[in-house]
Amino acid sequence: DAGVTQSPTHLIKTRGQQVTLRCSPKSGHDTVSWYQQALGQGPQFIFQYYEEEERQRGNFPDRFSGHQFPNYSSELNVNALLLGDSALYLCASSAQGNSNQPQHFGDGTRLSIL
């Protein structure tokens, strides 16, 4: 049973560029959340997608946007990259969008901005 998969694993970009990160949820999961984890910090909530819509958003600027597809996979897009966007981006999935099922995480995409 495949867990949460993310691609790519590593990415290097320069300031001002745009990036798209991808996530496939664990089998049977319909809800996807995205988190940003800076070095030595805990994950910070970016947003959550359920039924192909953004259901809740954290304190991140509009440069961060996302999408969820009918097969529940998701993308995170970041525009006009800043040096401070360098971090590990984690995708988490859970089952039954309205329940308290725990979120399961992928291994993340390490984004480096030069």
């Binding site: 959340s33 988190y35 910070q44 959550q48 984690l90 979120q103 993340g108």
Partner: protein
């Protein structure tokens, strides 16, 4: 403001030396308290969910407990393979779906 604080930031133990990690939370109602383990270069791995004060969960050498203000992760007779960062997260009530994470405790178990 909803907040989760973990202590200590780092902990070094000898193999077999039991200890506890602390997670203090201030949230507007608690829907769930979650413990995760994170190895270097990996995503957090789910360990436990606790829902109400007094609840306890166990898995191998780990035991998680919950009070109205904090949670503890007790590690009994740890082994070097227990070395990792342990994260706790709170999910508030009031219609929010996000997890609020602490900054984690980096545990190193020496052989």
């Amino acid at each position: 403001e909803d907040q989760v604080t973990q202590s200590p930031e780092a902990l070094r133990l000898q193999e077999g030396e039991s200890s506890s990690l602390n997670c203090s939370y201030t949230v507007s109602g608690l829907r769930g308290l979650f413990w995760y383990r994170q190895d270097p270069g990996k995503g957090p791995e789910f360990l436990f969910t606790l829902y109400s004060a007094g609840e306890e969960k166990e898995k191998e050498r780990l035991k998680a407990t919950l009070t109205k203000k904090e949670s503890f992760l007790h590690i009994t007779a740890p082994k070097p393979e227990d070395s990792a960062t342990y994260l706790c997260a709170a999910r508030p009530t009031s219609g929010t779906y996000k997890y609020i994470f602490g900054t984690g405790t980096r545990l190193k178990v020496l052989a």
